[in-house]
């Protein structure tokens, strides 16, 4: 890629979004779209207004980023590197706005423009927030409970051969079945829909975490147990201070796989009989053919799930701090 200068990078980063605002302001609305302003405090705002504000915030954010990263060589390079992509996003938004909303070239109501999608938050922001919190609550209950059971079971079957003999066939059998297949039983046997969805997420997290945790415990080098024994370690020490920390990289590998499973199960469970959540919201919006709301919910999911994944990655990096530099070192050798 041709190298561009820093001023050009700032111009590119901001320019696309400036053009997107300009397009939204200047291109006339040629096809009929109902634009109802909503009262926000003392202001009357319609979706175009909110859309421009969002773009303005993005522009301000990038200007701030440019200002902060200017001093540091590494950050500066990263900023310059991302500039063409930011420009492309701005131009894509511009084109989407014109084709989706202004001229309605795209098939409606399936592909509304970005301004209309943002409008969903204006229309029923509180309701979207409620459903987001419902999803988050469901996710946390299911994922944390499933992870706890998974790590516990994994340690058990990794450590005790008898537990391995009896439990691992169950894991192998039920681990292959998509969790949502249990939906009918979950819905009828558990007292509330919330508990049913938690149950489904728990089992979809449980199995992958348990099997990799067991593998991690079992793969502990024998010499490490011998070293611990000659240092005066009892069985408890061998398990909790040798086998478990040795298994930790695998445990986190299982946790991040399970995280992806949990998102899928969460949304599917919500679409099939929950009184709330982003999946429920998508279903409701679909019934009214309000596809801009479907897109709004998808946008929220993208942000929510990335944030959760980010948090998990931060926890992993902290817990596996001792591996820092180790993986890249192995990469150099290979």
């Amino acid at each position: 890629m041709r190298r561009i200068g820093y001023p050009a990078a700032v111009a590119l980063s901001v320019g696309g979004f400036v053009l997107a605002i300009a397009g939204n302001v200047l291109v006339p609305q040629v096809a009929a779209v109902e634009i109802t302003p909503v009262r926000v405090g003392d202001w009357l705002v319609n979706f175009n207004g909110l859309y421009r504000m969002v773009l303005g915030a993005v522009i301000l954010g990038y200007l701030l980023d440019a200002l902060i990263s200017r001093g540091n060589e590494k950050n500066r390079c990263a900023f310059v590197h991302g500039a063409p992509l930011r420009f492309a996003v701005g131009i894509a938004l511009l084109a989407w706005d014109i084709l989706g909303t202004k001229t309605q070239v795209f098939v409606q109501p399936f592909f509304p423009g970005p301004a209309q999608i943002v409008g969903a938050f204006l229309e029923e922001g509180d309701f979207i927030l409620q459903n987001t919190l419902y999803s988050l609550r469901l996710y946390l209950w299911g994922y944390l409970l499933g992870a706890a059971f998974g790590v516990g079971t994994g340690i058990l079957i990794g450590w005790f051969p008898r537990a391995y003999y009896w439990i691992s066939p169950v894991l192998r059998f039920s681990g292959i079945i998509p969790a949502v297949a249990w939906m009918p039983f979950a819905m009828t046997l558990l007292p509330t829909p919330f508990a049913a969805a938690v149950f489904l997420i728990v089992i979809c997290v449980w199995f992958p975490v348990a099997s990799v945790t067991a593998q991690g415990v079992q793969s502990t080098p024998k010499v490490l147990f011998e070293a611990a024994r000659t240092l005066g370690g009892d069985t408890r020490y061998l398990l909790l201070h040798v086998a478990v920390p040795n298994a930790l990289p695998q445990v986190f590998q299982g946790l991040s796989t399970a995280n992806a499973f949990a998102f899928t199960t969460l949304v599917m469970a919500e679409m099939m009989g929950q009184p709330g959540g982003l999946g429920y919201y998508i279903n409701m919006a679909k019934i009214w053919s309000a596809y801009y709301k479907v897109f709004a919910a998808i946008l929220v999911m993208a942000i929510l799930f990335s944030a959760i994944t980010k948090v998990l990655n931060i926890i992993e990096a902290r817990a596996l701090r001792w591996q820092e530099g180790l993986l890249s070192k192995q990469g150099e050798v290979a």
């Binding site: 080098p221 010499v223 490490l224 011998e226 070293a227 611990a228 024994r229 000659t230 240092l231 005066g232 370690g233 009892d234 020490y237 201070h241 040798v242 920390p245 040795n246 930790l248 001792w322 591996q323 820092e324 530099g325 180790l326 070192k329």
Partner: protein, 278 residues
């Protein structure tokens, strides 16, 4: 000969039985392993040996002579089929912190820092709080000042073995067992580590048993060298190294003993024995 004294220590049945304060005693110890093919291999046959308090003894011999098996039996990591092992008159049953072990490849806990690795023995025995100061003393004693917060993958092989030695010494073991700890190191690192062992022994009078196949290393470090031969693994002879430390690797006594030992190994291998090549 000034360098060695083998008189009275010829018989393999009771080699190395000597007067004095005996710390570690092996009587008629045998160990047989089952092979994958369904047969058995006699790794150790009727080994007897006494190690005195504060003594440095090397088990020297070619691979397959049972020297590592002997060390693992002393550590309690393995059980003999016959004979008895005692430390201070008490029979050895299972591993204990009283017998520290340094493994060939260090066997450090990768997820712990150097300081935490060295402290592991204290934590395992729930006595960390009252002995925390010992950790930094040992870091200093093995020459790892400033590396306490590093992780094992960030340090060199020689440093890893220093950590392994310090980790074993934190428990103040009555005997330190060293299983070819310097086998994988380059010559310069090995020489400095050998000097470290001598310093540590002089400072604490810890009884040490070293497994090695390096004749020079055995002469440089040992009070006595136990020569072992394979098929079946047994003690063929015990040689005392009488000349004072620090020993000069090029000195005449050193070279003389070296020649004698090498000759013994040639003799040992000249005995008619079936050879297997796989």
């Amino acid at each position: 000969m000034a360098a060695s004294n083998t008189a009275g220590e010829q018989a393999r049945g009771d080699a190395g039985l000597a007067q004095g304060d005996v710390a570690l005693s092996l009587r008629d110890v045998s160990r047989t392993y089952a092979t994958a093919a369904g047969g058995t291999v006699e790794a150790l046959s009727h080994v007897s040996l006494d190690v005195h308090r504060g003594e440095f003894v090397s088990l020297l011999g070619p691979s397959g002579c049972g020297k590592t098996t002997t060390l693992r039996l002393i550590a309690g990591l393995d059980q003999p089929q016959g004979g008895e092992l005692t430390l201070d008159g008490e029979p050895i049953r299972g591993a204990s912190h009283r017998r520290g072990f340094v493994f060939q490849q260090g066997a450090l806990f990768n997820w712990l820092t150097i300081r935490e690795n060295i402290a592991a023995g204290l934590r395992a025995r729930h006595v960390y709080r009252e002995n925390a100061g010992r950790v930094d003393e040992l870091i200093h004693a093995v020459g790892l000042d400033g590396f306490g917060d590093a992780y094992p993958h960030q340090i060199s092989g020689g440093m890893a073995q220093r950590v392994a030695i310090a980790r074993a010494l934190i428990n103040d073991p009555e005997v330190l067992l060293l299983d070819e700890p310097m086998g994988a190191l380059d010559n310069f690192t090995r020489a400095t580590l050998q000097d470290l062992l001598i310093d540590l022994q002089r400072a604490n009078h810890t009884t040490m048993v070293l497994v090695t196949h390096d004749v020079d290393e055995a002469i440089y470090l040992s009070d006595r060298i136990v020569i072992m031969t394979p098929r079946p693994g047994r003690v063929s002879e015990v040689v005392s190294v009488d000349f004072p430390r620090p020993r000069h690797r090029g000195g005449s006594e050193f070279l003389e003993l070296r020649a004698t030992l090498l000759e013994k190994f040639n003799l040992a291998s000249a005995e008619p024995q079936p050879e297997y090549y796989i």
